[in-house]
Symmetry: C4
Subunit: 276 residues, 4 copies
């Protein structure tokens, strides 16, 4: 704090606030994160409980009171975030800046407009704030491995989804033609919805084939979907294995030949034999 | 263009057209492919929307007009394809040639026959043309890996499907006998349909066992299906891993014996020992 | 019978018959197997079709006639099998001997007893004879890999199934207590049936939790089942990978050190360097 | 038995009892375990059968008599366990001590309170005692591999479950807003229950989207869930492969440095180079 600017304390306070609010490597920052996580989960719980009619009728007043407490808390937090970053506008327009704003806006808007129902749903998006906190938490590593695995197989998954969606369109049209409106397949989109429900093995049963050819086509689709289900699983397994394989490798470079990527328990470089 | 035939420009035009229409490695060919992809998707979307009664009633005239535009476009494209290939008949009888014809035929047939309903479904087969375009696109590599994995495990999947279908026949007969017609199992094919719905874990619930022995047999089938589901997934995972494993292999040929396929970190050819 | 026995032709005929009927490595044996496979599938198809009421009413006479043809054929085949093996009683009491007998017995019994309905189901067990033929066919290798994988993971699968069934018993009892008879959970076995339907993600929907605590417990069970589903898949994947890995290895022993298990494309022993 | 205390036989009897009751490496201990396993399974079967109304009405007296036999048996066993351990209180308060007590308590409590219904469910918890016996059995190794695999991927599974539950909350709220009370989505918890039923591909069909936007959102959720299902499977596969890979390792210790865990085909210690 000495060198950079001795006469302007705000940057110092800002920097400290930034460290507490945005980072998680100090005890204060960690405590802030845990507190925020609890507040987010409790406020989402309040939103969820408010949607239940019997609870709303009996404890509506209490929930609305709790709601305003959390809104106040998040408003203060939003203000501190705006204050602690160097370029507040950039923060406010970032993805998480908008999520932070969305967490408090509905409550204030409900004062102006009485359309509380749809605002309720927006409030539940506070759940997304959990990801902001988790992003700062220590077990980021594991999430990183998962994301790397998914990102690496993104292209294969695209090809796979393309094939699945083409099948869905064709099967939706075929079932619309074979079963027809009297059996619930009253348009191609409805048939596509049924094809997705079937191929993903969800199988609600709200629309089902009734005719013999329809049930035969459905059987073929199901057995196909059975094998198709194996593809994304296989992709992710392979990518996860690749992402995990590089885990127990040390980052230490060989003093002899400089090659990295030695096993964690290796005593000698496996390429030139120099002692590590 | 000079050497092969100096006095016949058509082959030159044909070759250029062929490059644009059938290949994707020139800017013009790529632009053509993207344009065609958009046209296909839009025309399929029109077919899908037309099947919705409320949209058909309100915007039927517009959709039919759009439909004829796309039919005209695809007719021109089909003509150009016939013109640009050296042996038009061979193309016309190939799988994609037939798909291309099927994309335009229904519209013309609907002028003669008023059975528009069934022709609607045929039109949706245009969706298959997407695969033609994708086949030419650059991310063919990923699809190739997936197809290689599926092709390699084809024989294992056949054995597996044989076992599944035998189980389906036997279980269908058993449930037809145990549950009988009064609980919806009114024939062995119906019982087989139920067995497929159950083994693939789709579980529509349109036909379900009602008696105690029926529910017991169904439970055994479900737990078995649970373990059986693991087999295709395992097969595809293993094949995908094998297909992917050859990724970090270099394309460098050995200067000694000319063999390719060396590991990325190999210092010597593993067949003749020459330094790479 | 002493030195091949010049005066008794039956052993020679028997041996030839045995080779045709039981083996598949001669053209005649292979032709016999293919013919038998077709006959089995057609006879099973006849049984399946006979169970459909409308077909039974219209073509019942034809089907019964076809049925008797196949019964005659299988009776002759059964006789030849008994004749061609050295110890007919041992064969008759073996698993496939009983299956072969079951394939013809119901038709003869239906002459004595008119309870054709239950005999119909027994006839479908002819389907099991397909496995006898497949066992002799050439693509036994693939099935062997699958069976090895399943056998190797048998113990792990037992532990896994034990855990699953304990969960099913406890969850069945809990749901019987929580939901009670008025919501369809009218006994613990019924609750266990529901738990199996739910854990295997089949989800018929014939019995579903209606109360809030019941739906909460069901949610926990489903998310658990979600992760549990991964265990058998993982087991089979790992075993399949292990069973496949040893495929491209040759059985050739090194002439230098006698070690086996060399890669198919290896030119030198990887342990002592001797040329293979 | 000679040295520690020559005049107090109880420790000797206690030690023997402890070996029989708690261990499984003597013939007597193994026989005790098998007997206990059978008794547990039979008593659980009795509880299950008692819950079926028709059986309860007809054989209620017999079942209650059997029930008291098992209660007596387990009471004696519980007493012997208390007697054979050195610190009975510690045992009584351990997890399995409580499970052992729960196995006998409900029967005695039913004498005092006539609320037999809820006590029935508690009795089924005897099923958990199976795990105590299995823990002592010889095929512990396999279970250990499974548990190691699950424990190793615990953190990844936590991240994964966190993402799934966030999705469930947001989707539950969205469907509550889109579909509304008239289509069964009468609160956010109900919507969350539906989202779990859908994402896990169980698909009961007791609540289903009826509106077009609702069915579209449901389709997206299902296709997402399709890919998401691949993640836990991939995780467990990878961890199982890692846990299994250490199988072909020998238990032989290096004569030079004493380190164990050498590959089965290693000729020299990989840490100090001594010939094995």
């Amino acid at each position: 704090m000495a060198f950079p600017s001795e006469q302007s304390p705000p940057p110092g306070i800002r920097a400290r606030l930034h460290e507490i609010i945005f980072e998680a490597d100090t005890p204060a920052g960690r405590a802030f994160d845990v507190g925020l996580l609890v507040a987010i989960l409790l406020s989402v719980l309040a939103v969820i409980l408010e949607s239940v009619r019997s609870i709303r009728v009996e404890h509506g007043q209490t929930i609305r009171w709790v709601e305003w407490c959390f809104t106040g808390l998040f408003t203060v937090e939003y203000g501190l975030r705006l204050f602690s970053v160097r370029r507040p506008l950039l923060y406010a327009r970032s993805f998480f800046g908008l999520v932070d704003l969305l967490a408090i806006l509905p409550s204030y808007l409900s004062l102006v407009m009485p359309g509380a129902h749809s605002l309720l749903v927006v409030r539940v998006l506070r759940m997304l704030r959990v990801f902001r906190v988790l992003k700062l938490a220590s077990f980021l590593g594991e999430a990183e491995v998962l994301l790397t695995a998914l990102r690496a197989s993104r292209q294969k998954i695209t090809v796979f989804l393309g094939a699945v969606l083409s099948t869905v369109v064709v099967m939706g049209a075929v079932m619309y033609f074979v079963e027809g409106e009297q059996h619930g397949f009253d348009s191609i989109p409805r048939g596509m919805y049924w094809a997705i429900v079937t191929m993903t093995t969800v199988g609600f049963g709200d629309i089902t084939p009734k005719t013999v050819p329809g049930q035969f086509i459905a059987s073929v689709l199901m057995v196909m979907g059975y094998g198709v289900l194996a593809v994304p699983t296989g992709i992710v397994s392979v990518e996860l294995a690749a992402a995990t394989r590089h885990g127990p490798v040390t980052t230490q470079a060989c003093p002899g030949c400089g090659v990295q990527g030695h096993d964690a328990d290796a005593a000698h470089c496996k390429y030139c034999g120099t002692r590590l």
